[in-house]
Symmetry: C2
Subunit: 342 residues, 2 copies
Amino acid sequence: MPGRPARRRTSVTDVAAAAGVSLGTVSNVLNRPERVSAATRERVERAMVELGFVRNEGARALRAGQSRTIAYVMLDAGNPFFTDVAQGIEDAAEAADLSLFLCNSDNRPDREAKHLAHLQQQRVQGILVTPVDPGADVLDTIARHGTPLVIVDRIRHDGAFCSVAVDDVLGGRLAVEHLVDRGHRRVAFVGGPLSIGQVRDRYDGALAAWTDAGLPPEDLVVVPTRTLTVAEGRSAGEQLAALPGPRRPTAAFCANDLLALGLLQQSTGSGRRVPGELAIVGYDDIEFAAAAAVPLTSVRQPRQELGAMAADLVLDEATNPAHAHRQVTFTPELVARASTLG
Amino acid sequence: MPGRPARRRTSVTDVAAAAGVSLGTVSNVLNRPERVSAATRERVERAMVELGFVRNEGARALRAGQSRTIAYVMLDAGNPFFTDVAQGIEDAAEAADLSLFLCNSDNRPDREAKHLAHLQQQRVQGILVTPVDPGADVLDTIARHGTPLVIVDRIRHDGAFCSVAVDDVLGGRLAVEHLVDRGHRRVAFVGGPLSIGQVRDRYDGALAAWTDAGLPPEDLVVVPTRTLTVAEGRSAGEQLAALPGPRRPTAAFCANDLLALGLLQQSTGSGRRVPGELAIVGYDDIEFAAAAAVPLTSVRQPRQELGAMAADLVLDEATNPAHAHRQVTFTPELVARASTLG
DNA sequence: TTGTAAGCGTTATCAG
DNA sequence: CTGATAACGCTTACAA
């Protein structure tokens, strides 16, 4: 078995030599084939195949001064919400003939910073990011250095970047209005930490709807969580179960679907009927929400549209000299299912 | 509000001019700082900050002849199994001081091919891929052109690449042995198409265990699916429910967890008790498996280890002249939970 | 210790 | 329509 192919790859020069033309002609075949006679072109193309020529994108970008790549730095690749957003970006990128690279910060600021630095060194055309902290200085630094950057699913209130997000205050409202409509008068808000803008907004919307309905604020019980994960949802369920009967909420609004699924599992697993004894509303409407054993009522965000819009915005910033930053907000929608409709 | 920063970014030359040194010195500050006097170095570093210098990785790689990036082309970013594999790769890559780009083929051969082509044009150090079709010619083409390539979670039987996978025949065995142990004498295998190597192997292992137990092959009923998704799991549930009582299996082994979750949901949703009337075993042990309303018995694959090993293999192929292709196989493990333990 | 110059692979310009 | 040449930003001998 022979070793790997030699270290140096074949270049336009090699192709030119093999085809008996100058390298300018090879470049023309690549970039303006119409300027080359059919015969020559064919000879060059044959040489390319024979030599296994692969264009060096780095050199090309170096010369051109810009690349054909954008990137999305995800907050949590394990959360289906973000992979759906990524899907939307991918489709938009494909339509614009751009390639998309995905990176996962996994909620870690250090990893996020590393990815961002690497991407700007790669001179990608633009960066989409769902940041750990939308206020973080790294983001400004990237933008200041000239790489277009769009914030996805978060808002930066100073308008320093384009951003696309969903109206989470409204989403929180929808969830609680639904529960109030179904007759619940003691409801838990499960989620945290409130320092996350999303969580804060959903809570604010929830509280607004609650008081608008004339209900006492103390009957909207906050069950704080450390993260937005299934495991934390389970432990929230234990906390709820520990409350004395009269103080125990008859419904819970969870800040995302992972929490809701954890809560659902803990509840049914320990014998509480859902929605009979505890109604549950999630947030995001990920695929697993509908697929849960008790299909989950959830607030749906237009995930793919979110991604597609973000892609359009970076592209505009990268190519349109008259670009102005925009904050685009989408409207969420409540999807009622069995977990509240018993 | 001023427009974006000027098109041209500051280069080593600019930094050199600003710091009053030659560009060679700037490069030394970047690459062999010990060769530069402290005073000069500091002057250069200050200039870098002031000018907002960002190293151009494309140019660097061009000159160096190699990049510090590897990539993983995922089969389905929406399947938590693959994001966990990616997590393992990311950790290994970080340890080796490499950056990882993720791409998602979304089960589409055309998208896979596009990503692979783009990556080899980017001259990444190596490519990890879970291919739509491990036998596809594109893979050979990549390798022939000199980019190290490792197949993840699939096997290429001709040994043309390194690969890491899990012993799926054994996994299938474990699942069915467990069910037989629990007394089941009529079992469904839910999964398909059998043209997918994984599915085929799991089925073969299941059948082997079944006949080894002295049970008649026709009592291991195949319920074919078109894809490995939650939706197909649900429709498999409907097919099972439609079978006349005596012909209806008392347990199902699903080719992955998404199918199992769909089946679980359809079953409990239509009033069948799990595991009382139908025991269910999944495959992959994704996080949602344990979090399902009836926690799912599943065959666990060492996902992170799979990813980490794959990263080690590409790295070896990229850097070790004596590299020889290896097929690494991991051993799966059955995790028994409520869905079979009633 | 610092500076100079060549070259990585590509593309665009401009003269033939 | 073709071919020589410069330039993109960086690294690395090698010279000063």
